[in-house]
């Protein structure tokens, strides 16, 4: 069953075609990597899938909803209910503790629960750092808080933009192990990356160049190792 369908998607900024007639489907429970050099359209595609931008033409179906025609208010609601976002820069709120950063996502989704937020931090191995401010956490720890925040509302799709881009090898492996566990638990994950090692862990890799899909590759490790 397809969770996401991109049909003939284009995104044009002035004279620049960031995405050019893209077709792509992602199945429920699939782990997909999107690769490509800078300016290839990776971030644009992520913004459209993440309901933070709309395509110039084409349709995007997320969990059966055509998000390409929804207004800003509806897109906010879809983003809140169906998507967990993970960022390269973590984007934690610097005056809130780790557990509070997780609870913020709950607050705008439903009801914040410190118990559930602590459980989410436990899943990423950060229970002991729950009361620390982001400035007191390492880059890897901050990224794990970001993952806990993305998971807290049980999203249909986890969308990660260069999740290991700012991490050393040790922390990169910790984060990838978390993704593997999430995948085993049945989560649908889309990872935007320029790192072939990270992409290799996904089941499928889509390569973008100049706004076009130039290659779709089934990976040997298939994300389940």
């Amino acid at each position: 069953m397809n969770l996401l369908e991109l049909n003939d998607i284009s995104k044009i900024y002035g004279n620049v075609k960031a995405l050019n007639r893209i077709d792509l489907t992602v199945e429920q429970g699939e782990w997909l990597a999107i690769m490509g050099p800078s300016g290839s359209g990776k971030t644009t595609m992520m913004n459209i899938i993440g309901c933070m931008d709309k395509p110039t033409s084409g349709t995007v179906l997320l969990d059966g909803i055509n998000i390409s025609t929804e207004n800003s208010k509806s897109l906010t609601a879809i983003r809140r209910d169906k998507i967990g976002l993970i960022f390269q820069q973590f984007h934690l709120i610097n005056y809130l503790t780790a557990v509070e950063n997780v609870m913020v996502a709950q607050y705008y989704h439903s009801m914040p629960s410190e118990k559930e937020a602590l459980e989410a931090l436990e899943r990423v191995g950060l229970l002991g750092r729950a009361k620390h401010l982001p400035s007191q956490l390492s880059g890897g720890e901050q990224q794990r808080v970001c993952i806990a925040r993305a998971l807290i509302n049980y999203p249909r799709l986890i969308l990660a933009d260069e999740p290991t881009g700012n991490l050393d090898e040790l922390n990169e492996n910790i984060v990838l192990d978390i993704f593997k566990q999430l995948h085993r638990d049945g989560s649908t994950i889309i990872v935007v990356t320029h790192d072939p090692e990270v992409a290799e862990d996904a089941q499928r890799t889509v390569v973008l160049e100049h706004g076009l899909i130039t290659k779709i590759k089934e990976n040997e490790r298939r994300g389940l190792s």
Binding site: T43, T44, M46, N47, G50, M52, D53, K73, T76, A77, R79, R80, D81, L85, F87, Q89, H91, I93, N94, Y95, L96, E100, M103, V104, A105, Q106, Y107, Y108, H109, P112, L133, R149, D161
Partner: protein, 428 residues
């Protein structure tokens, strides 16, 4: 969670919030100081202006008519046969605006011969510092000594109870070779008196050619016991407006409501009216030049204060606007993130506004107390007296701080609402 976020923002971003609180405190302190001074400046300026003399002249009805027809000429000859009763003068301090009556002094003019000379000299009987026991049970000291305190007196003012002393105008003293401590002889219709010169005064006007004696002496010399020819009153008044001008022309032309408003406001015309009510056959008239100048100075001073208050609040609003907008720009990624994880623009706006309003309450409260301090500094340095703290300033300043903070936050809220998560989180 909302309040945990607010608490986090306030306590973990102290520097930014203190800067906003400081700006609000500055505006609030200036508004508090200026409003307190503005509301109290009327009394302060009035008191300052009282040093320039009386602003109400009370005459007997008949003398007033002569005065209207012939100007000061008749009054100056002292030939009017109309008088006021000295025994009624204490009633002036029983009118509705009794507390606004600062001083008053009666006068009785008598023409006498000095040291058996050929020329007549004007002697004015008056109170210098008369102690009055009022019908209300209160008492006060009033008279020329306080009403004419800018007169330069060499020696002393006479004692009202001492019927053998006088003060002599400098021109008269020079013309007749009189010095302080000399004894002079004066004679009038009521007989002759020997007086000791307690002092020589210089008023800079016609008064310098006259001599002032206790009222009882003038009454004895003119055979007019218990009578006075006019009274000068110094009163604290409210500047004239359309209503008071209408009332001054004819109080009967006012509606009941207008009449009540006029009567219960310290307009010079209302005080004159009330003096007329308590002194038999009297006409109290404002000395227009003085009353109008006082009103004009007061109005201009209050307008200046109001202008400074408005400018300080506008400056504060601009400061808040810049700080909050800069704060929102600085927090654009945080705001973008909140929107990205599902917060609606209105929710984020409430969050930021609540932070700013709490900061405004803290800054406003601090500013209020600082402003009271500023008001006292202004009061002591300009008027040499404390400024009375008006409770009504508290709600006014609170409302102003609220409005200024909201107005100053509008550009930041508009910026915040226009922020798109994709643009701030991915730099697109």
């Amino acid at each position: 969670m909302f309040f945990r976020m607010i608490r986090g923002a306030l306590f973990r971003q102290k520097g930014k919030m203190l800067m906003i609180a400081f700006t609000i405190a500055l505006g609030a302190s200036l508004a508090t100081a200026m409003l307190n001074v503005m509301l109290d400046v009327g009394d302060k300026v009035n008191q300052e202006l009282k040093t320039y003399g009386a602003n109400i002249n009370v005459l007997p009805k008949g003398a007033s008519l002569l005065d209207d027809l012939y100007g000061d000429e008749e009054a100056e000859t002292g030939e009017s046969n109309q008088y006021l009763q000295e025994s009624e003068l204490g009633n002036i301090k029983t009118i509705f605006w009794a507390f606004n009556i600062v001083d008053f002094a009666p006068y009785l003019d008598v023409n006498v011969r000095l040291n058996a000379g050929a020329d007549e000299v004007r002697v004015v009987g008056t109170w210098f510092s008369e102690h009055l026991n009022l019908p209300t049970g209160e008492s006060l000291d009033t008279g020329m000594a306080s009403m004419k305190d800018w007169w330069d007196v060499s020696g002393d003012w006479p004692d009202d109870a001492d019927a053998s002393s006088a003060v002599v105008g400098s021109a008269l003293a020079e013309k007749n070779g009189i010095r302080t401590g000399d004894t002079i002889e004066i004679s009038g219709a009521g007989g002759a008196k020997s007086l000791r010169v307690a002092g020589i005064f210089s008023a800079g006007g016609d008064e310098d050619e006259q001599m002032y004696v206790p009222l009882s002496v003038a009454q004895e010399l003119s055979n007019r016991a218990g009578l006075v020819s006019r009274v000068e009153v110094s009163a604290l008044t409210t500047p004239d407006n359309e209503l008071s001008r209408k009332a001054a022309q004819d109080p009967k032309s006012l509606s009941v409501k207008e009449w009540e408003t006029w009567y219960c406001t310290a307009y010079v015309s209302a005080i004159c009216y009330q003096i007329d009510e308590v002194l038999t056959d009297s006409i109290a008239k404002p000395i227009r030049q003085v009353a109008e100048s006082e009103g004009a100075i007061l109005e201009k001073t209050q307008f200046l204060m109001l202008l400074i208050t408005i400018l300080s609040l506008v400056g504060s609003a601009l400061g808040i606007s810049n700080l909050v907008t800069a704060g929102v720009m600085e927090r654009s990624q945080e705001i973008g993130l909140l929107k990205a994880i599902g917060a609606r623009s209105v929710s984020v706006s409430w969050l930021v506004l609540t932070e700013i309003l709490i900061t405004a309450v803290i800054g406003g409260a601090a500013g209020y107390f600082i402003g009271i301090g500023f008001a006292q500094i202004i009061g002591h340095s300009v008027f040499g007296a404390a400024i009375a703290i008006k409770p009504m300033v508290v709600p006014i300043v609170a409302a102003l701080v609220f409005i200024v903070t909201l107005a100053g936050s509008i550009p930041a809220i508009r910026l915040l609402q226009a922020l798109r998560p994709a643009e701030v989180l991915h730099g697109r």
